[in-house]
Amino acid sequence: MIAVFLRELRLALRHPAEALAAVLFFVIVCALFPFGVGPSPDALARLAPGALVTAALLAALLPLDRLFAAEAEDGSLDLLLTAGLPPAGLAAAKAAAHWAVTGLPLLLAAPVSAALLALPTDAWGVAILALGLSSLILSLLGTLGAALTLGARRGGVLLPLLVLPLAVPVVIFAAGAIEAAAGGAEARPFLLLLGAFLAGALPLAPLAAGAALREG
């Protein structure tokens, strides 16, 4: 499992464009909001929590359709599935690598996006925490979606349709946490709910993705 994770990181470092594209997408979407709603800080700050979370989730979706499809196309998936590795372990390694390659850079870019959306600086810490939890959940749900849509025609279109509805609670709680922090309220309950969601997805998503890979 660690070997698969390290190979993913090495491949991502050799092709940094994909991870970079997701980060730039995240920043550019956040930069579009001031143009759309006007530069008034009040209006922007009202939108900021939801916009930040939504943009991050959409950005994290970008590289997901290649997660297993690239391996399936060049025959690597057959070898990985016959390497004596449990399919759920393979899915877990893939999810962890997706988060390290896509989720982590998004967190690093979060202050830039937060500034573009005029989010009060008091809320930045909670925003990064909430985005960290929600990107972890999305990596897990996305791995499941990628495994399920593998081999489907137009799988790249199907994947967001499958994953984004599942991500609705993530958007609600993550945006809620950021909004609470920006308004000086307690963000802890929202973060705990996100943590609970993550605790559920952590074992279930790799198991389900593994089952989907085995059937595929």
């Binding site: 196309e73 060049d74 025959g75 057959d78 599935l81 016959t82 390497a83 004596g84 590795l85 059937e215």
Partner: protein, 215 residues
């Protein structure tokens, strides 16, 4: 995994060593069409089976089913009398599958590629590179390899560790004569250790006294 002593044809003909790989009434359905059904074959340690048949006869499909990548519509694949579907991780450990595709990442070098598979399955990457004559190319990114060289890298993964069951789909596709000879040495050593080879091919393979199975 049990590594048996040298094959000794006499032992086999007397039936002292039992078949370790067997299929019982195997049937595979692909896209609603039955590719083959009622297939029963057995292979003893050290034995080589050559799968022959026209395009579309189901040679690749059979190899994928034996590797555990396809679920049979009926019948079972048995290893030492036990259904391989019961413990797919153990079956993976004992199997080396070589598909049509070479499963090579263009950005990695052959040495990195083999080091990755060696971490998953054991074995010595440098020895595997040398076995297929790839040592001189080991540091180049795989995108600069020719089709034959890529095939050799895929074959070099067979030389990692000592899995007893090799499933080879058109192993010599694109290989030059020197590489075919290297593959021959690899196959002979594998069979001398008591390993089983099943190969699907349209080209002559360096597999002396292989049993032919028509599909």
């Amino acid at each position: 995994m049990a590594v048996l002593p040298g094959p000794g044809a006499g032992l086999f003909s007397q039936g002292i060593l039992e078949a370790v790989l067997a299929t019982e009434g195997l049937a595979i359905r692909r896209g609603g069409r039955v590719v083959f059904s009622g297939l029963s074959l057995r292979a003893r340690p050290g034995e080589a089976l050559l799968l022959l048949g026209p395009n579309g006869a189901g040679k690749s499909t059979l190899l994928r089913a034996l590797a555990g990548l396809l679920r049979p519509a009926a019948g079972r694949v048995l290893w030492e009398g036990e259904d391989v579907a019961d413990d797919s991780a153990a079956h993976g450990t004992r199997t080396r599958y070589l598909g049509h595709q070479d499963a090579i990442k263009p950005a990695l070098t052959p040495r990195e590629d083999l080091a990755f598979w060696a971490r998953l399955r054991g074995g010595e990457p440098e020895a595997a590179l040398a076995a297929l004559g790839l040592s001189a190319l080991a540091g180049l990114p795989c995108r600069s390899l020719s089709a034959g060289q890529r095939r050799r890298l895929a074959l070099a993964r067979l030389a990692l560790g000592d899995a007893p069951l090799w499933l080879l789909d058109e192993p010599t596709l694109g290989l030059d004569t020197a590489s075919v000879a290297r593959l021959g040495a690899l196959l002979a050593a594998h069979r001398a250790r008591g390993g089983i080879v099943l190969a699907a091919t349209h080209l002559p393979l360096p597999l002396p006294d292989a049993r032919e199975v028509a599909l």
